[in-house]
């Protein structure tokens, strides 16, 4: 599974508790649509750290890195490289 799909699946399955056929627009804000609240964000961070073997610093938990699926993907890829 590629990075984008893994993030999307986690958000749809574990946070939105949605139908597995739900598709998210990778460029749509996860915050203003109410998908990510403060607790969901913590769960997403824990998932990313475990799934991709990266450590996320507190100072990296900012909208620029977590607002959309695309931004999360780019952030993870930059962390891994």
């Amino acid at each position: 599974m590629d990075t984008e799909t893994a993030i999307e699946r986690f958000i749809v399955d574990e946070i939105m508790l949605g139908d597995s056929s739900t598709k998210l627009d990778p460029n749509e804000s996860l915050i203003s649509t109410g998908v990510l609240d403060s607790l969901a964000l913590l769960r997403l961070i824990a998932f990313i750290e475990e799934q991709f073997g990266v450590m996320i610093e507190d100072s990296e938990v900012i909208p620029e890195n977590f607002e959309t699926i695309n931004e999360i993907k780019e952030f993870i890829e930059q962390k891994k490289s």
Binding site: G18, G34, S38, V61, I62, P63
Partner: protein, 532 residues
């Protein structure tokens, strides 16, 4: 002087016309601008037929529109009803039907969801838009009359003639979780909220130099302090974009950059700031007062918070939506000593309120260490639940301890005990199945009802697992009907159409049966143990 909430704005606009009333994403609105804009909104509402006492919905994300809507509606004589911008359409449609909302103030970004509310059935006849961001889609404008923001800005901006609202009329209705499956609308009068705001203004010495965050959404009663106490004082309401409130470090930056003096937050947000906000690296010297309410603040995070930001005064405020805030307590250094493991007390009654505690035997609790249910009487008690005489009668009862005249008191359902100082009360827990998660109150029964509404559910029990950071995590145990074929995912999808996000169980587990007590009730304590 009349006790009308919207007069706070009119009066401050006369005293401080050019002062900053509100800030949002780096932009400002002066008192004069806010006063005029709200006059225009009020006129637009009256031209759409709004009269004294009519309910008007607010369905916007946190922005200047939040302030413009509440004051505009009250100036028109209406009663404002905030709708959770992230709640499912089914729930919102229920609220519009329950209190008969015909006009909704909303923004263009919410139009898709407004269409979804329509498909669930609603009495709405007109929308007033609070912005002009996108071209209107034809489909929605065929369903309903729409006033654009441009239309509203053409209205007369002068003061309106009084519509005859008096202090015992309703100012707003807040919907909270209801145990039988539908949310219930708590009715708050102008006098009720005015009493609370006056008390805050004096107790916390609010002034025109204060810059106060507005973090809680409008449908959460913490929002009333932020808006009305600040506007009364001629201070500045700094509206926190929802986008930012999710990121602890950005919240702390906002406190620093906006030179916030007063902030009122739920403990779970403060705990996140302690854990992830790098408090020590920011200059929070302007902050003079931190208020928290909505749930128990775990002492270890409160201790860390005060250690990182020692100079402000810290207060614990307590009160269900039905009583606004009814008790308060200023945090003392001795509460935070390393050997302290108990949360800080909820304190003693605010001005114009009395609280008393009734033991299981019906006698008033007066001795240290004895437990009982907290009751409240006084001006801050709500008028009851909209259109629900039965539930109102269960909780808002004639005070049996008042022998001289008849008055209504509110049974909170919260169990408390008297502190060893003999003055302050300590919160122990709930009498029923209501819990708090991230400050939101949640009836576990409402979640169970949502699960039971799926035909594949034979039995369901929802339990709360205590969690320091968020208050509680919610887990559901379900016995499926035989041969139904329902999957966990089916049930989650179904529940998500009925419940707001903060009420969704974190997990649903299927089992062949639920453990029972000797009296045949579901053994919830055992389920909690299993889930931990």
């Amino acid at each position: 002087m009349a006790y009308l909430l919207h007069q706070l704005l009119t009066e401050s606009a006369e005293r401080y016309p050019d002062k900053e009333a509100a800030r949002f994403e780096g932009e400002s609105l002066t008192y004069n601008q806010l006063d005029k804009l709200t006059n225009q909104v009020a006129r637009a509402l009256q031209e759409r037929g709004i009269q004294k006492g009519d309910r008007v919905g607010i369905y916007v994300h946190k922005s200047f529109a939040s302030l413009i809507c509440v004051f505009g509606i009250m100036k028109a004589g209406g009663v404002y009803v905030p709708l959770d911008p992230n709640a499912p359409a089914k729930r919102l449609a229920y609220i519009t039907r329950n209190c008969d909302i015909k006009i909704l103030l909303t923004s263009t970004e919410k139009l898709k969801q407004v269409e979804a509310i329509f498909s669930e059935g609603t009495p709405l006849t007109a929308l007033l838009l609070t912005d002009d961001k996108v071209e209107l889609k034809a489909s929605i404008s065929e369903m309903i009359d729409i006033d654009s923001w441009g239309d509203i800005l053409l209205k007369d901006e002068q003061d309106l003639s009084p519509v005859g609202t008096i202090e015992t009329d309703l100012a707003y209705i807040l919907y909270t979780s209801g145990s039988t499956g539908n949310p219930k609308g708590v009715m708050i009068s102008h006098r009720t909220i005015f009493t609370f705001i006056n008390w805050c203004y004096e107790t916390f010495q609010m002034g025109p130099a204060d810059r106060v965050t507005s973090h809680a959404p409008l449908h959460f009663d913490l929002s009333t302090f932020d808006i009305y106490a600040t506007i009364k004082a001629g201070g500045t309401v700094v509206l926190i974009p929802e986008k930012l409130s999710v990121f602890p470090i950005r919240l702390v930056q906002l406190l620093q950059n906006e030179r916030i003096t007063v902030t009122y937050l739920v403990p779970s947000i403060l705990s996140l700031m302690v854990n992830y906000g790098k408090l020590g690296e920011h200059d929070l010297s302007s902050l003079r007062l931190v208020l928290f309410a909505g749930e128990v603040f775990p002492i270890k995070y409160l201790r860390e918070l005060v250690a990182a930001v020692p100079h402000p005064d810290y207060y614990n405020l307590y009160g269900p939506t039905e009583t606004n805030v009814c008790t308060y307590y200023q945090v003392q250094p001795r509460d935070l000593e390393p050997d302290q493991t108990q949360p800080v007390p909820i304190g003693k009654a605010c001005e114009n309120m009395e609280v008393f505690v009734v033991g299981d035997d019906g006698q008033l609790v007066t001795t240290i260490g004895e437990e009982g249910e907290l009751w409240a009487r006084g001006s801050c008690v709500a008028e009851g639940y909209w259109g629900d005489a039965e539930k109102t009668g269960q909780n808002f009862v004639i005070n049996p301890y008042q022998l001289n005249f008849s008055e209504i008191s509110y049974r909170t359902g919260d169990i408390v005990t008297l502190h060893e100082d003999g003055i302050n009360w300590i919160y122990i827990g709930r009498r029923d199945h209501m819990i708090k998660s991230r400050g939101y109150r949640i009836e576990l029964g409402e979640i169970e009802s949502a699960l039971y509404s799926h035909e594949g559910v034979k039995e369901a029990a929802v339990v709360a697992i205590p969690d320091d950071l968020v208050g509680n995590r919610i887990k559901a145990f379900v016995v499926p009907m035989e041969n139904n074929g329902m999957t966990i995912r089916d049930l989650e999808t179904h529940a998500a159409t009925k419940l707001p996000r903060y009420m969704m169980p974190e997990s649903i587990e299927f089992s062949e049966g639920l453990p029972k007590t000797s009296t045949g009730k579901i053994n919830r304590p055992l389920l909690v143990q299993q889930a931990e």
